[in-house]
């Protein structure tokens, strides 16, 4: 029971208080891509959740060796990218032999869903917090779900911008960035005054 509570509290923390987009600004370009393709959001968020969980599990026993190294900042990302590569291959072959019909979709989209800043970023943030296994899992899943939540929220706001009289020079990327910044401001009120690491 305590494990479940711990898991849930870490998940909610990662989902709202330390939202991956609003407070850590990870995976924004992928998010902007997804906003243009709203049907993909649910699928890719699901993929992201699976990938982060699996890679986190895979790298969890190994990261103890890396932590105390002098070159932690170099070795940790390389370890995670290697883990992600393994997970990518595993998932790909799993799909290829179990659901052959889905192979085309996965060969096109799985790569983007695995190798992106949101996935690697959430893994790195989790490892920097030095949490135990349950919390790591909860935090990772919460971060992935938080990504989907932020994408939906931002996508809704940006469609609203189509009907605003946005000046010509602000249309497109600039207004999306300002909108994102202002939303992050709201979440900062919750977190308090601290820089993310």
């Amino acid at each position: 029971m305590t494990y479940i509570l711990q898991f849930l509290s870490m998940m909610l923390t990662a989902l709202f208080i330390e939202n991956i987009i609003f407070t850590r600004a990870l995976g924004t370009s992928w998010m902007f891509y997804l906003i243009k393709h709203p049907k993909e959001i649910a699928k890719q968020t699901g993929l992201l959740t699976i990938i982060t969980t699996l890679s986190g599990l895979l790298a969890y026993p190994l990261r103890g060796f890396v932590y105390n190294s002098e070159h932690r900042h170099l070795l940790l990302p390389m370890l995670y990218i290697a883990a992600m590569a393994v997970v990518y291959l595993a998932v790909y072959f799993f799909v290829k032999f179990v659901f052959p019909k889905q192979e085309e979709y996965f060969s096109l989209n799985l790569g983007v869903a695995v190798f992106n800043c949101a996935a690697l970023g959430s893994l790195l943030v989790v490892s920097n917090e030095r949490l135990d296994l349950i919390s790591t899992l909860g935090y990772g899943i919460g971060m992935s779900l938080g990504f989907g939540f932020a994408t939906v929220m931002l996508g809704y706001g940006l469609t609203r911008l189509e009907y605003c009289r946005v000046p010509k020079i602000f249309r497109g990327v600039p207004i999306a960035l300002i909108y994102l910044g202002l939303l992050s401001l709201a979440f900062y009120g919750l977190v308090g005054h601290q820089l993310p690491t």
Binding site: I17, M153, Y156, G157, R160, L161, C164, R165, V166, P167, F170, P174, I175, I178, Y179, L182, L183, L185, A186, F187, Y188, G189, L190, V191, G192, H193
Partner: protein, 404 residues
């Protein structure tokens, strides 16, 4: 006779109320609040207000010039500039007010297209950004009844605000009457609960704001505070301290009701009020800062179009009720013959005040089903309709009683 004739579209009589009168009402309602803060903190409070208003007005003119728009002297930036200092302590340095106003106008308003297009409440964002940037200045409140230096650094005695005590889980050392009258330290405009509430009721009576928004915000918020108190003691104390500390009452009347960023329909306003009560409560309960209200308001602004969409989908069903019912009844023929069939034979469905403008084509466009909607909920006589209207009007005073 011909020379002066001008073109104008159909309704040739308009309501006397306009944006200017609405905004002027809000400004008039803010003046007593400034008077009270003048009473408690001296001239500096008034100077901060004037400084904020002038800054915002000048910046909005600059923004309009930069966007090469037609210059439009609307009063909305002045309201923004008057609200921002009221959310801050009277000892706030002028540069903090300036930066908050600059963010409100140049970041929140103009990139989105100026008045009427902003997606966030400018005052809330301006205040939130200042609070994040200079938390020490924004959240240290001077004790009341001391005249502060008009310009420059202040050397006022700093007191702990009730909101901060609450966030620590301690009972504030001011009694409820102090907090009602505003002699507890806090944001310079938001502590005078009685004055602020009176000004809010003035706005409601003048119909510059809708009574539903503050009502639907404050009642659920009070309920939440009673159910989950942060401090010990009787629920009434907890309620009063939670409700009267921070910017809850001020925000409910002056910030939550901002027309641009709030939902359009009454139903949407109700939903928004209730959900912002929950979000504000959560932000204040779990948040690090005392600025829960402003942050929660920014988050709620994102959701207001969703509330509009909910209203629209409800009304869509209402408008197509006839057609939906008909299709439903077709599937279940066991029921009695629907009333639609003879009513469709009503020959002259549409009675538009027929003039040249409402041309002939529009008449057959009207679907007969819609007329049935009206007839279905037919009142038996004109008297009942009058009662219905009276009850509509009677609801307003009841809302005012609750909010005081």
């Amino acid at each position: 006779m011909k020379e002066k004739l001008m073109f104008q579209n159909a309704p040739h009589v308009r309501q006397s109320e306009s944006v200017v009168t609405m905004m002027a009402d809000v400004i008039i309602a803010l003046l007593p609040v400034y008077l009270m803060s003048f009473f408690y903190y001296g001239l500096r409070a008034v100077m901060l207000g004037i400084f904020g208003a002038v800054t915002c007005a000048v910046l909005s003119l600059i923004g309009q010039l930069l966007l090469k728009e037609k210059l439009n002297f609307d009063l909305t930036p002045i309201i923004t500039g008057l609200i921002i200092p009221l959310l801050m302590p009277a000892s706030i340095p002028y540069y903090v007010v300036f930066s908050a106003c600059a963010v409100a106008i140049l970041v929140v308003k103009f990139p989105f297209g100026g008045t009427g297009s902003n997606l966030f409440n400018p005052a809330a964002v301006g205040f939130a950004s200042a609070a994040i940037c200079w938390p020490k200045e924004v959240f240290s409140y001077p004790a009341t009844m001391q005249s502060l230096e008009v310009f420059g650094e202040t050397t006022a005695r700093i007191a702990q605000s009730p909101a901060y005590s609450l966030s620590l889980g301690a009972v504030p050392d001011y009694n409820v009457l102090d907090m009602l009258l505003g002699s507890a330290p806090g944001p310079m405009g938001a502590t005078n609960i009685l004055v602020v509430a009176a000004c809010g009721i003035f706005l409601i009576v003048k119909k510059a704001i809708n009574w539903l928004t503050p009502f639907c915000f404050l009642v659920p918020y009070a309920l939440l505070c009673v159910l989950f108190p942060r401090i010990g003691g009787s629920p009434f104390d907890a309620l009063c301290y939670e409700l009267f500390s921070g910017t809850i009452i001020f925000g409910a009347f002056f910030m939550l009701t901002e027309p641009v960023t709030s939902p359009k329909r009454d139903f949407g306003k109700m939903l928004a009020g209730i959900s912002s009560a929950v979000v504000v409560f959560l932000f204040r309960y779990f948040g690090e800062f005392e600025m829960g209200f402003a942050s929660a308001l920014i988050v709620m602004n994102v959701f207001s179009p969703i509330f509009d969409a909910i209203c629209e989908s409800v009304l869509h069903i209402y408008r197509h009720k006839g057609a939906i019912l008909a299709s439903f009844k077709k599937e279940t023929p066991a029921e009695t013959k629907p009333a639609e069939v003879p009513a469709e034979a009503v020959p002259e469905e549409e009675e538009i005040p027929a003039e040249e403008t409402s041309s002939e084509e529009e008449v057959p466009e009207e679907e007969p089903a819609v007329e049935i909607d009206l007839s279905e909920e037919a009142e038996p006589s004109a008297e009942t309709e009058e009662e219905e209207e009276l009850s509509e009007e009677n609801e307003e005073p009841s809302g005012e009683e609750e909010t005081v």
